[in-house]
């Protein structure tokens, strides 16, 4: 096992990693920018090294500085957390050259999955379902109708050279095809000088469902169930839950097994997540993240598996020992990302936290690096903590979330706590009836109708 792990991250995830290390008897090194001198994990770590000025590219993304910090502290492994260098194959490689273990998958797997086109090709080989698309350009309407018939309507006509929605048309029935294609071709020609079109199945109201995977050092992967992360704003997840309210046991089992089998075929080692879009017509692979996810705690809450511990075990070459049959889900979990942002305008709100009182009690977990008197720096992302609630079932979970949000006191900065309180009043949220577009359209409606939200 490792003697000393350097935590190449900041904020709540740095603290999360520190705690996991302490449980395993491993010493920790916090590296930090000058803006994070007062950060909680810096204070708690066994050692800390300032690696640069506030801008991330000069500190948290500064590979030479992090390597030098490994050298002067003698760390034998680096946990990259999420974001920053966590999916940087080059970093993983360099660490390897210096004899330092990167706690994550192999550089090859990182690189492969980092290239979105290569990842889809691999996914196809691994029999993962992809959003059906025409093989290259479609010549004419007949071919397009043929494709649409095969994959079922609606389909999306897209400009091969396209982008930004131009040259893109949704076709819901066969009679619309010819018109849509000529319109799209004309638009594409005008915009990009190229009228070539291709077709893709159009997913109407997809949900974002992701499967948590763990590949052991022998390359046998298991899955830890799915998370539903459909509530997003500008592609940022806001609230995640597990299990997904949209899946039945059969679908859950199926996608889990499919993903785990694919990861095993891939020889994937470490923690990873396969992301899918899900509609009534099934699952469609989007991409694979080769790192710990922000939302890993919801999986921890229902499976009881300590994800960070598993990552460390696997990186050390030790078999985690968990078999697929050991994974049993208990209850329901929801995570709310607490951002230092205005809950209505989403404007960031850095500054001093003047009061901090997290909720406690049964089924309540707070992962946060904030404390009273802490100054939230303006240099990094606005997430300052996560409120994770576990309950015997989804209803208990949401009821508990309600009082926990009410008891959560953060003063001095704006937070997204009121946003979640508002969301919990929405029937669609209570019923689990939402897709990846739901939150943005709800926000748009709320902004049109400002007095609605004032009660929250």
């Amino acid at each position: 096992m490792f003697e000393k792990i350097l935590i190449a991250n900041r904020g709540e995830i740095a603290l999360r990693i520190h705690r996991a290390c302490k449980e395993m008897g491993i010493a920790t090194v916090a590296v930090h920018s000058t803006a994070d001198e007062e950060a909680m994990h810096v204070r708690l770590a066994d050692e800390s090294v300032c690696i640069g000025p506030p801008p991330a590219k000069e500190s948290y993304l500064n590979i030479p500085a992090i390597l030098a910090a490994c050298e002067i502290t003698g760390a034998d492994a680096v946990h990259p957390g999420y974001g920053f260098l966590s999916e940087n194959a080059h970093f993983a490689e360099i660490l390897g050259h210096h004899g330092i273990r990167f706690i994550g998958p192999s550089p090859e797997h990182i690189r492969l999955m980092g290239d979105k086109i290569a990842a889809k090709q691999i996914a196809r080989k691994l029999n993962l379902p992809l959003v059906p698309g025409s093989e290259g350009a479609v010549k004419d309407v007949a071919e397009a109708l043929d494709f649409a018939k095969r994959v079922n309507y609606p389909v999306l006509v897209k400009a091969a050279a396209g982008g930004g929605g131009r040259g893109m048309k949704v076709v819901r029935r066969a009679p619309e095809m010819a018109g849509a294609m000529s319109a799209a071709a004309a638009e594409a020609k005008a915009a990009f000088g190229d009228g070539t079109l291709y077709l893709e199945k159009y997913l109407n109201k997809p949900r974002h469902i992701e499967v948590q995977l763990l590949g052991d050092p022998q390359g046998r992967a298991i899955h830890l169930g799915e998370r539903d992360c459909s509530l997003q704003r500008r592609h940022q997840k806001i609230l995640e839950e597990a299990p997904s309210p949209a899946l039945n046991e059969k679908d859950r089992e199926r996608i889990g097994r499919l993903a785990a089998r694919a990861a095993t075929k891939l020889g994937y080692i470490g923690a990873g997540t396969m992301e899918f879009l899900y509609t009534e017509e099934g699952f469609f692979f989007i991409e694979m993240n080769t790192r710990l996810q922000v939302e890993h705690p919801v999986t921890e809450m229902i499976t009881g598996v300590n994800m960070v511990r598993e990552q460390i075990m696997i990186a050390a070459g030790a078999s985690s020992g968990i078999k697929q049959r050991d994974i049993r889900q208990r209850g329901h979990a929801v995570e709310c990302r607490i951002n230092a942002e205005n809950a209505r305008t989403f404007l960031p709100s850095p500054g001093e936290v003047r009061a901090f009182h997290p909720p406690g009690g049964f089924g309540v977990r707070v992962d946060s690096s904030v404390y009273e008197g802490y100054r939230i720096p303006a240099f990094y992302d606005s997430m300052i903590g996560k409120l994770i609630i576990h309950g015997q079932n989804r209803t208990e979970c949401l009821m508990r979330l309600r009082w926990a949000l009410k008891e959560f006191v953060i003063e001095g900065v704006d937070t997204t706590i009121p946003l979640f309180q508002e969301l919990l009043e929405e029937a669609d949220i209570i019923n689990g009836n939402y897709d990846i577009h739901w939150l943005e359209s709800w926000i748009a409606k709320r902004q049109d109708n400002p007095q609605n939200g004032d009660a929250a």
Binding site: S48, V49, S59
Partner: protein, 173 residues
């Protein structure tokens, strides 16, 4: 580095606080500000919640509602055992008038090779761009040049010591 700052703060406090003879202070326009700062530090040092001083026509009172950063104290306790911190604390203890700070993390070498004469010594006049010392990071020797002409007042790190970003290396007058 938390503990370093902490130590610095503590060391600084004593002399400054001692110098806090109130009468002298009121002379300058900025005088009372320094007095207040000194008293604020004294509060920290002594754990008092209020101090009132009256001396030759000057009276000052400061108080502090109770401390927040309890995490701090705990953190400090553990951090103070860190090797990196220990290695650098001697440098950090003193007030650096015009220090050349480390532009990167790494290991300091004061001479070009083991046993050789150091690049510079205290009292030596240096030219702008002249190598002051080396920081090794990733097996690379980085020459740290003098930012300007001046006299080396004191070297604040020892040969082979690890340094972090921003750490004072030597004082240049």
């Amino acid at each position: 580095m938390t503990d370093k700052d902490k130590k610095k703060a503590k060391k600084e406090r004593a002399p400054r606080a001692a110098a806090a003879a109130p009468a002298a202070i009121a002379r300058s326009a900025e005088g009372y500000k320094n007095l207040v700062r000194d008293l604020a530090e004294l509060l920290d040092e002594t754990g008092l919640s209020e101090i009132e001083i009256e001396h030759q026509g000057l009276r000052a009172r400061v108080s502090r509602a109770v401390s927040i950063a309890a995490v701090e104290r705990k953190g400090v306790a553990s951090a103070s055992q860190t090797p990196a911190a220990a290695a650098t604390s001697s440098a950090a203890d003193q007030e650096i008038g015009d220090a050349v700070t480390a532009p990167m993390v790494g290991t300091v070498y004061l001479s070009p090779e083991p046993g050789a004469k150091p690049f510079v010594e205290a009292g030596m006049r240096v030219k702008k761009g002249q190598t002051l010392l080396i920081i090794e990071a990733m097996k690379t020797m980085n020459h740290i040049p003098a930012p300007r002409e001046g006299v080396v007042e004191k070297i604040l790190v020892s040969d082979g010591a690890p340094v972090e970003f921003g750490e004072p290396l030597l004082a240049l007058s």
